[in-house]
Symmetry: C3
Subunit: 468 residues, 3 copies
């Protein structure tokens, strides 16, 4: 029995399905371009074997432990490290069994598709995971992971990754990226400049981070001008390690444009820790515009990931720390929020700002109309909870009629789950081909155009938008 249907995610009607299959055949084996994600560069630098199946697949994946927690499995029972030192399960096999006996919870979710794809195509498993076969699957995966051709670099090559971008904080020394480069290995792993820790006054250790930023760059981060110079220096350093893009994770999409004097005064207030909540938000807003201006200078592509309420559960954040699956989307406004920045840089022909959202109501109402007129704007693919069959369909159906295909930028896998990368790209390719097929069968696109667009969405747009 196969875990995966050959025609999965294609339209059901016969002519559309055949068209989708034809399109998909031309893109299924294209190289993977992964311009935004969270894989660990250490894997590729050190090329060590991955850990046991549970610690590779279950423990670090918030899609998985979130669902298990929602049905009453404690985070500690899943081996998620605690922040307060309380004990957590460490036996991979025990964790794996808990996961396997709850595998039915993932019915109808993208996680199920990604997992089945990896189980079948990577580990050669052909039975659906269950309490009954949990140990067999665990042993099979463990056996694979012990093999040479399951080390990180071998998988990178087997997956057909042409280039992958990781994401590092502004203070990172990029040692692993340097090591990868110096190793002579041919795999292309680039970094991305993510300066939240030195841009967001609410980031833990913000003041100390500014001091460190000054030390690393030799710039005087005691002044706003010096602080911007420090960014210039770090952006240059990141570009030397392959970066073509920056990334900004902000609670809102708010931007601001201030005079030099206003900006300097605001910087002083946030730096000494006395800024109000509103001033801290104002500073984040200012910095999006300033980062866009630096992108005009240095050509780096800018990504904005806005709208996540981070660490929603107070008790869980206290016990387990940040990023433990309790981030929840918020309504997010882009029209008012982006105007100050767009009035400054929106018409710059050389600039690319890629917008992401966790609020799907803005696709048709705000993002498509904005990206459909401002030359500096492009739309990132469906993010996070929307990296899914229906999520991608809604994105295309709500964006394309106003912004077309060419104001979008192809797919991001955005993941730290390395083994799921081929599956994630495969899902996107299938959904895009299905969407294009229905355009053809309903007379909204010519067949020859559909083949060209399928290739663009799979490969060309990501490379060009991210300048990779």
């Amino acid at each position: 029995m196969a875990l995966l249907a050959d025609d999965r995610l294609f339209p059901t009607e016969a002519r559309s399905r055949a068209m989708a299959r034809s399109l998909y055949e031309t893109v299924r084996s294209l190289p993977i371009v992964s311009p935004h994600g969270h894989t660990d560069p250490r894997w590729f630098a050190e090329n060590q074997h991955f850990p046991d199946p549970a610690h590779l697949i279950v423990v670090p994946d918030h899609y998985i432990f979130r669902m298990l927690v929602s049905q009453g499995v404690p985070l500690a029972a899943l081996g998620v490290p605690s922040a307060d030192g309380s004990p957590v399960e460490t036996d991979g096999r025990v964790i794996w069994r808990r996961f396997a006996e709850n595998y039915h919870l993932f019915r109808g979710t993208p996680t199920r598709l990604w997992l089945d794809d990896a189980f079948q195509n990577l580990f050669g498993i052909d039975e659906r995971l269950s309490a009954e076969n949990a140990d067999r699957a665990y042993d099979r995966i463990a056996e694979c992971l012990a093999q040479e051709d399951f080390r990180p670099r071998a998988l990178f090559e087997r997956f057909g990754v042409e280039v992958i971008a990781t994401t590092e904080g502004a203070l990172d020394d990029l040692a692993f990226h340097r090591a990868i480069k110096e190793s002579g290995w041919s795999g292309r792993v680039v970094t991305t400049y993510r300066p939240d820790a030195v841009v967001d006054p609410d980031f833990p250790g913000f003041a100390a981070n500014l001091v460190r930023l000054g030390e690393l760059t030799g710039c005087d981060t005691g002044t706003f001008a010096g602080y911007l110079d420090a960014h210039r220096a770090r952006r240059r350093f990141f570009r030397e390690h392959g970066a073509t893009a920056t990334d900004h994770g902000h609670p809102t999409a708010r931007t601001a444009s201030l005079s030099a004097a206003e900006a300097a005064a605001l910087y002083d207030r946030v730096r000494d820790g006395h800024a109000s909540a509103d001033e801290r938000e104002q500073f984040r807003a200012l910095m999006l515009t300033e980062m866009a201006k630096l992108s005009v200078e240095d050509g780096m592509v800018m990504q904005i990931h806005a709208g996540s309420f981070r660490n929603h559960s107070g008790p869980v954040a206290a016990a387990f720390g940040r990023d433990k699956g309790f981030d929840i989307p918020m309504p997010t406004n882009y029209v008012d929020a982006l105007k100050p920045m767009l009035d400054v840089v929106g018409m710059e022909p050389g600039l690319t700002i890629i917008l992401f959202t966790l609020d799907e109501t803005v696709y048709a109402r705000e993002l498509a109309p904005l990206a459909g007129v401002y030359p500096a704007l492009r739309l990132g693919p469906p993010w996070w909870f929307y990296d899914s069959f229906q999520g991608m369909k809604r994105f295309r159906e709500q964006v394309t009629e106003t912004a077309g295909f060419y104001n979008t930028v192809g797919f991001n896998d955005d993941t730290r789950a390395f083994c799921s990368i081929p599956a994630r790209h495969d899902v996107a390719r299938r959904v895009d081909c299905g969407y294009l097929a229905e355009l053809v069968t309903t007379g909204r696109l010519d067949e020859d155009e559909a083949f060209e667009v399928a290739h663009d969405l799979t490969y060309r747009l990501a490379k060009e938008a991210y300048r990779l």
Copy 2:
């Protein structure tokens, strides 16, 4: 001529339709579990014949009179009782004719499906209602209602109702429920604790209601501690009459967590009628958290129905009173609103809070991510305007990928229109089977799993979530 197509609401593509039909065959005759609704317990206590067709079907159904009003038929002409004593139509046959001659207005609405189902399957009518056949239909239904096997208990049994929950206010004496129990009849009718009248300071007669609550329970509702004890007592009383759940109809989903002293002070202000609008909202918010804490104590399932702008038309409310079809949904935020309560009880493994919304934009953005991580949360089915083919499709398509099936709770009919109950459950079963069928034919779910999920959505989840 049949009013109903055998394959109604199934996908149109042949393989998906066949799959939907197969799934539906296994669930169509399962017992009806109706864990939330507004039928009148008096019907089952007294088992009197229902009134004439118009006063059974048209006059009390706001889905019906709302549509007629929207096209210029006055409420009074439909027999809707006035609050100001002005005369209204009382002749059932006249009301029925007005309804019948406007039956085309319901094209494409769920009301049309529910009505046709009852006309065909309950009353044996085989022609579409119209001005021409209005009298024939009226006579046919009246003739049926005069028969013994159309009395409430007979219909209850014929409909295959395993259990039905009604909804009563906190001050209700539950005499009808007691009478049902004492009658020895086997039908299971349980109540639900709906304390809005003693929780919402904006409820008419709030202060007097608190006094009455004290009298009924012997608790001192002059203090917050005594007031909470009174709730404890009434909840116990309701459980003795079968209740397993509470229900809370609030304008927003706002919750609050206050210290005992703050809570007591706020209670004093709302009790003496001097609280500001903000304090009154704050009190409602506080009480959601307090009710959740009582649910942790006593195991009652908690339902939150938020986001309705009640009695939107001032003139209609003045002339006809509350609940006359002029309730309109409002944008509703859950992420910020629920956080105070969730920080207190969200991780409680024994607690179940079922969330309902009239704002579909929160399905994917807020409700699915919240229910997909907090063990205390479950999602109620599409409510009110969304209890429909497209409404259910949107719910499943926007919720499942993040929250799966097992953070949802099956179907609620939520109705006072008793004759429509089989039709409403049938619609839900068909739409769910259609959704599952498309998961199968697009390779997102295995066939054996689909049969299991179909049964879960129809029967098991409602019983388990509501502890029935």
Copy 3:
């Protein structure tokens, strides 16, 4: 090769497609009723030849130049007139080539469908526009436009337009409408009263406009009572030129109901230019209610187009002026916003207020429930960015189950792109027939009803709602 597929926009499944085709055959050739749009009455008054292809098709169409700008083509390069006197491209052939070489940008957009329809059916072009064939297409269209039967009146008749409404400001002398009438030509071109320039205190020249309004009417616009009388007079003047409707373009849907004294005082403040932003919004809100009251008096249908952030780009507005494609939708609330007006006129049986939105989230949540109960309300068709295949589908799917078909008003083309009018109506007819076909094949509507509704949506509802 044909540019257009015969069965375009119909469902893909065979039975639904056949049903859609049958429905469409009965409505495809019905006369065009165009109750709201922006064609230039001068065309029909003077009946001059249209200009060159670029200045007819590309330069004035913000759907087209918006997309080209989004990919880096400057507005000036497209011949869009500047406001600051800077030079712009004037050579139609050069503009046309820029457009043609970027024709792939329109893949998947409604613009592509409208253009291909006009190219094929109006100009007899059978190859997809491209850089290669740009000149051939240009020459072909230019050749057509030079012919007698491509003059405005000839096209009007060829298109089968039964009646078309234009839109003029309150101060317009309607000379072209008078000329049309006096010419003896049989084409029916009516005006629409659009008083934004004398209602919106933020409109450029508002104070001077009020003076002019007084001069035109002989009313004392120095008082609120005189100002309302001036509206009465202008509305009468517009009705004498065929108007049956008014139209109101407001940033929000906010309405207000004030006492005579409050209204007079507010009018004084906005008139002397000292009103705050809030008071100016309050005045717009007041005037929606006042206009509705005038509609009760004089029977004119009232249209509200709310929710556009006009001229979003500061630099573009400075260089090119208003309405240059940088209008972006905003979240728009209707439930609270309309209540003051609805409390005054919502139950008026003789009044028709047609609501439009750029915020699709309100279709199911706010607009359908409101129009599904208030007799004065009707819903306009999907507007602007949503005048598209998916936009129309979302509208029907989200509106029909609550408001039915008969609280909607058929199609508006809302365009100044005269050559696209048949294509736009054809798209609406196809999408509606596809939607109705799926209702039939899923057992939600009888076949005979679908034919009746198809005719209603295409023809009858527009005529009746707009009293044309």
